[in-house]
């Protein structure tokens, strides 16, 4: 596949980054009637927004040390419950005090919550155990807070759908590879269409850099310095929920002090370590063991539980340039000391680049507020007077109310779809996969993020090959929908199967990506599961991992074209290079 340039696109604002912040910015612009295009190097939520524990903060975690963040959190917690209830599990949270924990901290905690406007209630040990029967018997007392669980992929999809319905566009698998400047202005953003294998220019009046932990790299392309600190957090996924609501340790934030029940699993978090690159998503054994051992102090059953996988994400921490006085945050490598609040950078006043803003720092819970802050500044410069409406306009899907963990099962029961299950662990039905394939998804990884396919205890022993089969049925049928059924004309050739993406290669990529997250958590029952999966895929199906065809490999390689040696393109190539073992298959008809 050769490089080339497709016809340019035009828009008012290019938003860089398909995490929750960028998508929230896109939606905010759309609601103010501004046309914008969002560009994302992989799929939505493949960076930090998809690599975190799913905690909808009440803010209590920051109440003692970072009350600005705490106030932002409780405000946005309330707002998100209003505009996006369907993405939220309304499960509440506890901060538990264990023997040895500092009671003085507990007093500060209560005060801090009060000062930050976070409602708390003190529970006796007995009351805490009634609410969370698996809590350690020696819990001394607990405080309830309005924490929740939030599904960032669902939030991303809703916000993106809303923005698209209002005329904005989302281009996934379009890493930014450069900017075109005329003096102090950016005139266009150059992106690489990783699926078509071609570059593309997007002419624009404004650029918003919402690349999160990667904001510094986007800044470099635009010629402005932004120092981000990559604050890696390691998390561990348990095979069941253990707790009804979020459980936090009531102590100064440290490793392994949060348990977040999410869908069918529980996520234990987190470490906080400064690493050289946000692409460092390794999960050392010692970190995994520490998460388990620390969280087991709060919920002892975790110690002997079944561990599904471990993963890491990178906090998008911003280091202000040369702060007056201080020697800068995170001197000791523990990034917890860096504020979790956010900052809008106007590169006109800051760097003399007239038409670009960056939004840095922050956290998922405050993504809407971050978007509002940067778009307010941008709108003022653009002369757009329409006020921000994102806090009041509810998102598509909000009429479903809060997400309930039992809802998927209720749906399966209502539809009598037991045998229609493609993924038994996560209750994903054939209809859901068919719909996703019909909507144009060609990668199992995308199905995973859309449907939670492959998340459960069996770690894709059955669902992945079933879904690969459905992708095979769907290939050669770009409009999707109808299942292949050749009963009427059985000798009809299989569409343009020769040109379609190879679902076996896609499956092998998916399995290898899943494997990376499992390696540090395999022992006990999960060791047996891993070998049974191995016996299925390698033993029965005889997959040897050699099925990646040339055209799929091509989107993992830098395009061969003039200018490839240009150092400003190097970042772009790294962005195309797949840090997560993923690649885009060529789309049908591309």
């Amino acid at each position: 596949m050769t490089g080339g340039v497709r016809p340019p696109l035009e828009t008012d604002v290019v938003v860089v980054g398909g995490g929750v912040t960028g998508v929230a910015v896109l939606r905010d612009l759309a609601l103010r009637g501004v046309h914008a295009i969002l560009v994302e190097r992989f799929d939505l939520g493949t960076g930090t927004s998809g690599r975190w524990h799913g905690l909808l903060h009440s803010g209590a975690r920051y109440a003692v040390r970072d009350q600005e963040s705490a106030r932002e959190c409780i405000e946005e917690n309330t707002t998100l419950r209003r505009i996006a209830p369907h993405t939220i599990e309304d499960i509440g949270g506890l901060f538990v005090l264990l023997p040895g924990d500092d009671e003085a901290y507990a007093a500060q905690f209560v005060e801090g919550c009060k000062a930050s406007g976070i409602p708390t209630e003190e529970l006796s040990a007995a009351a805490a155990h009634r609410r969370e029967p698996l809590l350690a018997p020696d819990v001394k007392l607990a405080f309830s807070v309005p924490d929740g669980g939030i599904d960032s992929w669902s939030l991303l999809r809703s916000m993106a759908a809303d923005a698209e319905a209002r005329g904005c566009r989302v281009l996934v698998r379009h890493p930014i590879v450069g900017v075109e400047r005329a003096g102090d202005r950016i005139t266009a953003v150059r992106v690489h269409d990783a699926v078509a294998g071609q570059d593309r220019l997007i002419g624009c009046q404004w650029v918003v850099n919402a690349a999160g932990a990667w904001a510094g790299e986007v800044g470099r392309l635009a010629g402005v310095p932004i120092t981000m600190i990559a604050g890696k957090g390691v998390m561990v996924v348990m095979a069941s929920r253990y707790v009804r609501g979020v459980v936090n340790a009531c102590r100064k934030p440290a490793d392994g002090d949060i348990i977040v029940p999410q869908h069918e699993v529980a996520i234990l978090g987190t470490t906080s370590e400064q690493v050289p690159s946000p692409d460092d998503i390794s999960t050392p054994l010692a970190d995994v063991d520490r998460m388990i051992d620390m969280c087991a102090q709060m919920v002892p059953a975790i110690a002997s539980g079944r561990v599904l996988r471990a993963f890491a994400g990178s906090r998008p921490l911003y280091k202000p340039e040369a702060p007056a006085g201080g020697d800068g945050p995170a001197a000791a490598g523990d990034t917890r000391e860096v504020s979790r609040t956010f900052t809008v950078l106007d590169h006109a006043s800051r760097d003399g680049l007239d038409n670009m803003f960056s939004i840095v720092g922050g956290k998922l819970t405050t993504c809407r507020q971050m978007a509002e802050a940067v778009v307010d500044r941008l709108a003022e410069r653009m002369g757009v007077t329409e006020p921000c409406r994102t806090a009041t306009e509810v998102l598509p899907g909000a009429d479903h109310g809060h997400h309930e963990v039992a809802a998927p099962l209720a749906t399966v029961e209502r539809d009598q779809a037991y045998g229609e299950l493609i993924c038994e662990c996560e209750l994903v039905t054939r209809g859901q996969v068919r719909e996703a394939v019909a909507s144009g998804l060609t990668e199992l990884e995308d199905l995973r993020r859309r449907l939670r396919l492959g998340y459960g205890p069996c770690q894709a022993a059955f669902c992945a090959w079933r879904a690969a089969g459905m992708l095979a049925e769907g290939s050669g049928k770009p409009q999707g929908g109808a299942p292949v059924d050749r009963e009427a004309q059985p000798n009809q050739p299989d569409g343009d199967g020769a040109r379609a993406p190879d679902p076996v290669a896609g499956l092998e990529r998916f399995l290898e990506e899943r494997w990376r997250g499992q390696r540090s958590t395999i022992w006990g029952d999960q060791a047996r599961q891993a070998l049974l999966n191995h016996a299925i895929y390698r033993g029965i199906f005889d997959l040897q991992g050699d099925g990646v065809p040339d055209e799929a490999a091509a989107v993992n390689e830098p395009p061969t074209e003039p200018g490839a040696g240009d150092p400003t393109r190097r970042v772009g190539r790294e962005l195309v290079g797949d840090t997560e073992g993923r690649a885009s298959s060529r789309a049908d008809g591309a």
């Binding site: 047996r528 891993a530 997959l543």
Partner: protein, 412 residues
Amino acid sequence: MRADVVVVGAGPAGLASATRLAEAGRQVLLLARGNGFTHWGAGSVDVLGRVGGEPVERPLEAIDRLPEGHPYHLVGQAAVRDGLDWFTRFTAEAGLGHRGDPERNRGQVTAFGTLRPTCLVPEPAAGELQGRVAVVNFAGFRDFSPALCAQRLRRSGIDATPATAPLPAWDHDRYFTGVELARAIDDAGFRRRLAPGLARAVAGAEVAVVPAVLGVERGHEPWADLQSLVGTPLVEAATAPPSIPGLRLFAAYRARLERLGVRWQFGFPAVGVERDGDRVTAVRSEGASRVLATRCQELVLATGGVAGNGIEANRDGTLTERVAGLPVDGFPDRLGFLGDRFLGDQPMAAAGVRVDADLRPVDASGEPLVANVRCVGGLLAGHDPTVEGSREGVALATAARVAALLAATPVR
């Protein structure tokens, strides 16, 4: 409780060992936690499918290229042949004829359209894929994708076309599993109603590949009958677990063991042994409410490796044999269990108990640790059943060896 020989484990090695020991006149108790790899395999007899990742053409010759300490070297080629000969006779008598030649591997078609190298395959999976091949699913069966299968077959130069056959009305028209479909196909009336639609889907192709669901309780008869009704050779493709060909085989073993008077305790995991000096005197197993001790003269462990639950993989990288606490070489940490790639090799799959030529567990210096314990099948160190494609071959060869050893031992 008392038994002459206790066999622990009901996978390919335990079933074959129990049957052969009973045939050799021993009084056998079969004790099992649950089902084994009959249900999880491809439904064929793998003897040696790959060495160093490369497909093997001549499995018996390729044994020479296996590393020292491999179970095949311990029992010798004669035991391998004996195991395969015995299995061929046993399955033929049970109405589950197999085809294949121990001298030469063949390709078994899978649901992915790959042709996995194996040695003996059940007759329904043995047809040649020549000429035009229809790859046919039964409408609504979620575990087989004719498009996926045909796509890969075409890459192997096979003229394959995907198709779907309608199912006649039946009581599972909303949803069903492979086992339910196989049970329906056991019924001759259902087959007569199924055949016309299947024939239309086959549409004149020389041979049809179908998922391995053609009956489960009547051996190969439903396959043979459906094939003659359709008028086209039908070839069953290996599908994911549960393996219906494996269920047929399991049922044949079970019937044979019952006829031989073997006592059979399922759902009773063995959890320990009692010892007297260098002999095991009893096996402890977990019942519904208590631990039972069964006294025995001989103990055959067919509990499998890590995959089969005979060996526990611990968080610190060590490995524990679960019944008798036999030594198993572990790893410095748990990352050692695994390879970098999922589809690569997994070191913990090859972990196991080291034994002498009489299949008795040995210590580091090679001396037997227990006089009356024999290990067979996946529990044995030095082989990776999945990566080599040797699971059933090792099971049958070591069962042959244990039968020879213990038949020759006078009953005390």
